[in-house]
Amino acid sequence: MVKAVKGTIVKCDPAVKQVILSLDKKEKVIIEDLDDNHLLIDTSRVDYIKKEVEKLLEENTYKSELDKAPN
């Protein structure tokens, strides 16, 4: 019979999806892998994922040496 699962659907580009998948390996957050652009995740973990994705993307953003210097 039909099941309804509560969660949060996240729409994202494939790159971000891979980031979330790698997070999932450390700690289970994904309820269902829907397709290339959508994931169903645990609602309580949304903020955690947001923060982690931000952090990971930040690390992967190119910064020139000049920009880093003053910091």
Partner: protein
């Protein structure tokens, strides 16, 4: 485009006028200066239509008017738009017998405006009593520089107050009221006022837009709380727009309401008065450019007024943006610098300019404040240095694109709390539910191959009820209805 800003201002005051009662509009049209100002707010084609009808004595129908318009889609849509606006503002009236006529008082007063008849004094009465003779000796008119100075300090005082750079000089109470009413600032618990996101956006607008936005809020306030007559207030605003900079005008002939207005407008820097009790007032540049939009300043430089030197042009544009995201702002105004600081990394400050850089961090900071990418871009566009305006594309496209990309980057995750429906027994079941959910408009995501549907939290209850109903229905119909319902057997 700088035109965006102008259009923005126009729609603002325009929307306000549109919402007015017909009788109020009719009263407004009794002043030629107001007629002229409102006329200039109309779309170009509408202005032409008014002019064509203004001195015509013939009775026209809408079909007759349409004869003037080329028979192609673009022209006709422009024509419809023009007619629509004219009717909304009650300038053009479609009568019962399908004929179209100009509002009679508008027609009469606007004719007067062009031909120079009447005794309405709607373009301002000069103060020409005693000091006219004594002008040569001691009594000095404030020169344009003084007026500009006055306008600048007063207006920037308000902006400074909003940015919070200058807490010492709190502007008058009426300013505070307007600022809070417009939701540009809000009460912070116990600590006075704090700027809102809307306030940040306000700061990025050009001065003309700011002034109008402010005046419109003031108008609301005036009619609600101070019980002023809207018509008189508006007439006064529009009259200010037609005055000459550097001239002194007499308070004589002004209504009581308008005299009351003088005080507030002096506070905002639109008007300069030597003494509070003075019988004279001088409009500042903020006032005289009210109805012209900021484009007026650009063209003034080309018009042949050698006497009228345009130092406002320097006020107009001072920012140079390079393709490498470096930004040079030729300004020494603390206010402009703090506005720039909203979305730039300031680097060095010199006596007449600051250098700054648009970085990912600085722009993200602004975006998080609720300022949008398009606002940053339009600010940079409208304050671009005249040097930049010579180029076909005003801002470097790299910079524009990047600012937009940075905005998009912030929205890489779109999050919807929802319920995932899965394990439909048949494709038909899935299809029926999806169809129903679609009509409710609650589908977040669906997959035919997986037979799964994501439903928003809000839609969950209704979809659940639908499925229950269906199951009940099926049970009552017997077990074999599965195939008859959809026709596709389950796989």
């Amino acid at each position: 485009m700088p035109t965006v800003i102008v259009a923005h201002f126009k729609t603002n005051i325009y929307e306000y006028l549109e919402a007015l009662q017909k009788s109020t509009l009719d009263k407004l049209y009794e002043e030629p200066a107001t007629c002229l100002a409102i006329f200039r707010l109309l779309p170009s084609l509408a202005r032409q239509l008014v002019m064509s009808l203004l001195f015509s004595t013939q009775i026209m129908s809408k079909a007759d008017l349409r004869q003037w318009i080329k028979n192609d889609k673009e022209s006709l849509s422009k024509f419809e738009e023009a007619l629509d606006k004219l009717q909304k503002l009650h300038i053009m009236i479609e009568q019962e017998n399908k004929t179209i006529a100009l509002n009679s008082s508008f027609k009469q007063k606007f004719q007067e405006c062009l031909t120079g008849g009447g005794t309405h004094q709607s373009f301002g009465k000069l103060y020409n009593k005693p000091h006219r003779h004594s002008q040569s000796n001691s009594h000095k008119l404030p020169d344009i520089k003084t007026l500009d100075e006055h306008a600048k300090t007063k207006w920037e005082e308000i902006l400074h107050f909003m940015v919070g750079t200058d807490r010492m000089n709190s502007p008058g109470a009426s300013v505070l009221k307007v600022v809070t009413k417009a939701n540009l600032m809000r009460e912070k618990e116990g600590k006075g006022l704090e700027i809102t996101n809307k306030g940040f956006q306000f700061l990025l607008q050009d001065v003309n837009t700011q002034v109008w936005a402010f005046l419109i809020q003031y108008l609301d306030l005036a009619s609600e709380m101070l019980h002023m007559n809207v018509v008189e207030v508006l007439n006064f605003f529009f009259m200010l727009g037609s005055l000459e900079l550097g001239q002194d005008y007499s308070v004589e002939g002004l209504t009581d309401t308008q005299r009351q207005l003088l005080d507030d407008l002096t506070n905002y820097g639109l008007i300069y008065r030597p003494k509070k009790s003075s019988k004279r007032y001088y409009p500042t540049r903020l006032a005289t450019t009210l109805t012209s939009g900021n484009s007026a300043i650009v063209s003034n430089s080309s018009s042949n007024n050698p006497t009228d030197d345009d130092d406002s042009a320097t006020e107009q544009g001072f920012i140079i943006v390079e393709t490498n995201y470096k930004l040079y702002a030729y300004t020494s105004s603390q206010l402009q610098i703090s506005v720039l600081n909203l979305f730039c990394n300031l680097q060095f400050q010199f006596s007449n300019m600051v250098t700054a850089e648009l970085t990912r961090e600085s722009v993200r900071k602004a975006l998080k404040h609720g300022i949008t990418a398009s606002q940053i871009i339009s600010y940079l566009t409208s304050h671009a240095h005249p040097q930049m305006k010579k180029r076909p594309a005003l801002l470097p496209s790299t910079v524009v694109d990047q600012i937009q990309l940075w905005e998009m980057e912030l929205n890489r995750l779109v999050i919807t709390n929802s319920y995932l429906y899965k394990e439909f027994r048949t494709f038909a079941d899935y299809e029926v539910v999806l169809k129903h959910a679609n009509t409710l408009g609650v589908v977040v995501w669906s997959s035919d191959s997986k037979k799964m549907i994501g439903i928003t939290e809000a839609g969950h209850e209704r979809v659940k009820a639908f499925i229950k109903r269906k199951i009940v229905q099926r049970r009552s119909n017997g077990g074999d209805t599965t195939s008859s319902a959809g026709g596709t057997p389950a796989r």
